[in-house]
């Protein structure tokens, strides 16, 4: 799994912490608020390192182990930072039947990283994801908010080149 403890040092800013405190304040007395708070915290920091989980534990008065339990249960939450460009390869059934496994292999080879990993320069991260519902365009990958569909493995290098900046 991708949720191993990260080796990247935490460097949150005071602005981020302030934003997080606001979120905690807004949800504090709501029933079942932990998930929305974690979701918004991940929006702010991009991931949920232990330091952020500790802040939430203190702010919400919820034991840290419970927060860790929830954060590691759901695949949307990540304890590792993602790359500047997040590549997700859909391995849903429709995409898989149409060869998204080969697309994944090609990307993995081109970037030299495996599932859930990030390139050493922090530029690309790669992950296999569940169906994103664009089955009509299978096989599909997304890079941040851009969607690329109807792919063949040879398209991979061309697409990566677009992010060469």
């Amino acid at each position: 799994m991708t949720n191993k403890k990260t080796s990247v040092p935490f460097n949150g800013t005071p602005e981020q912490e302030q934003a997080l405190q606001k979120v905690i304040e807004a949800h504090k007395n709501e029933r079942g608020a932990l998930m929305p708070v974690l979701q918004e915290a991940q929006e702010i920091y991009g991931y949920l390192p232990l330091e952020v989980q500790e802040m939430i534990a203190r702010g919400m008065d919820v034991p840290l182990e419970e927060i860790y339990g929830v954060a590691t249960f759901y695949s949307q939450f990540t304890l590792n930072p993602k790359g500047k460009y997040k590549i997700s390869v859909c391995l849903g059934t429709a995409c898989y039947v149409k060869g998204s496994g080969d697309i994944f292999d090609r990307l993995s080879r081109a970037l030299g990283i495996g599932n859930g990993e990030c390139t050493p320069d922090g530029k690309f991260s790669l992950e296999a994801c569940r169906c994103i519902g664009a089955c009509g365009l299978a096989p599909v990958i997304t890079i941040n908010d851009d969607v690329y569909g109807r792919l063949v493995p040879d398209d991979v290098e061309k697409i990566l080149a677009k992010y060469a900046d």
Binding site: R31, G32, A33, L34, M35, P36, L38, Q39, E66, G69, V70, F73, Y74, S75, Q76, F77, L91, G92, T93, A94, Y96, V97, K98, D102, D105, R106, R109, R130, C131, I132, G133, A134, C135, G136, L137, A138, V140, V147, G149, V152, P153, D154
Partner: protein, 597 residues
Amino acid sequence: MYRSHVLVCGGTGCTSSGSEKIIAALESEIQKNGLVEEVKVIRTGCFGLCALGPIMIVYPEGCFYSMVQPEDIPEIVSEHLLKGRIVKRLLYSETVIEDSDAVKSLDETDFYKKQLRVALRNCGVINPENIDEYIAYDGYQALGKCLTEYTPEQVIDIIKQSGLRGRGGGGFPTGVKWSLARANDADQKYVCCNADEGDPGAFMDRSVLEGDPHVVLEAMAIAGYAIGATQGYIYVRAEYPIAVKRLQIAIDQAREYGLLGKNIFGTDFCFDIDLRLGAGAFVCGEETALMTSIEGHRGEPRPRPPFPAQKGLFGKPTILNNVETYANIPQIILKGSDWFSGMGTEKSKGTKVFALGGKIKHTGLVEIPMGTTLREVIEEIGGGIPNGKKFKAAQTGGPSGGCIPASLIDTPMDYDNLIAIGSMMGSGGLIVMDEDTCMVDIAKFFLEFTVDESCGKCTPCRVGTKRLLELLNKITSGNGELADLDKMEELCYYIKANSLCGLGQTAPNPVLSTLRYFRDEYVAHVVDKKCPAGVCKDLLSYSIDADKCKGCTLCARNCPVGAIEGKVKELHTIDTTKCIKCGVCMEKCKFGAVVKK
């Protein structure tokens, strides 16, 4: 008044293929040509024919333009919208009438003519971000009728008599579920909507949420009235950003119009709805796990009884229905239970939406009466298998379902028939496979999914699925024995019988159904150490056909591991000890000289 309306699909499929750029280009071209007062562009929900996206329809002519690119827009605007001349080259080929300027109606095309749209009625028809358009299509009339003409018991009776069964997988009668929750007294009850569409390859719920969000709100309010609840929650996947956004807009608009909130339609009935975002856990589609997740915990299921109708969300009586089930409710109230039960088969009433995907020409969403045969769906509506390949199997029910072989293609699809042949309706994903799909590999694919998504709470599911996957890996890597097949079967039945929730109870289905219908293929892997479909890499080897190789060096230059040797204009050979079987050489070879065995 506008003289022309241009409907552009803003569903996820078409958005992914660029419909936002199309809308921007349309708006700027319309401005340039001074047509702002005459032509209106509307962003709608999904039309269903995702394979041809981005899609747009121009009314009043009803021209269906497919695979539109931004470069095409100036031509469409200046020719069609300005001069009234249809741009034939962009029309969906099936709607073109030779030697005529008219177009065939969409209802006459193979893809649409057998469809019957109830749940998808408004998708691709109205602007989902405008409550007035929903109201203009009888929206919120059913809620008004319930509140002012029927008692809660009468509402439940109508739903019971309609024969509506849950569209999320299990097929439990909706009316019965409601009456169970009604019967329990409590100071607070809840109505939940399961919009955590987790089956890979199913996207009908997303399309309803994106194309017609108000129908879900209206139906939930009706359910609230029927069982005596004042609060609703929609648990929707965070992976569906467009659906989340449109639901929030719809909730805000409904509150503004007084259709959610206090004293709805001037009655005593109060009801409100909030959104909760899922965070990517398949098990949260299970009802008790979903409720645990809304409460803010790890989404683990709990044993039943007590059923949610007694003790559900926050320990209170709760009903949970899925999006497509709700989408049927307002129509049943307005048109009556007889109308609804007049469609479908004896025990499965109404229609079902299927998401057609995989090796099929028209990938997309189709809504058909229950009892339509698989053959009609694949060959007529779906347009058959592309590239002249042969149909091998259809997978329904996602990771909980099974594979239907070609020999059963004439099975009428309803809840009970699908169970009888070892699959299930599930949420309606229908993945078509051709001869290039390995059934052992598919079983493995689904098992990998369930192993990953098993929440770990109960041992049969957590450990059992893992052992099952190990056996499958043993077989696909060429180390299987015949006895493994029997071992797998035994393990499957054990997992089914002993798992806590629906995830584990159905997880072995993909293995069982492929073992049942494609045992030969398993035997080929185990005894002959061959993968007949040429998918399982460990059982394949690549070689170069000496008669066809021209010595062009293209394969050698592209091989990532340097496993191919050969000089220019001489025969090349593959060193199988170095070969990683990536298939690049085969893709690159222009002479078809690389052979996979």
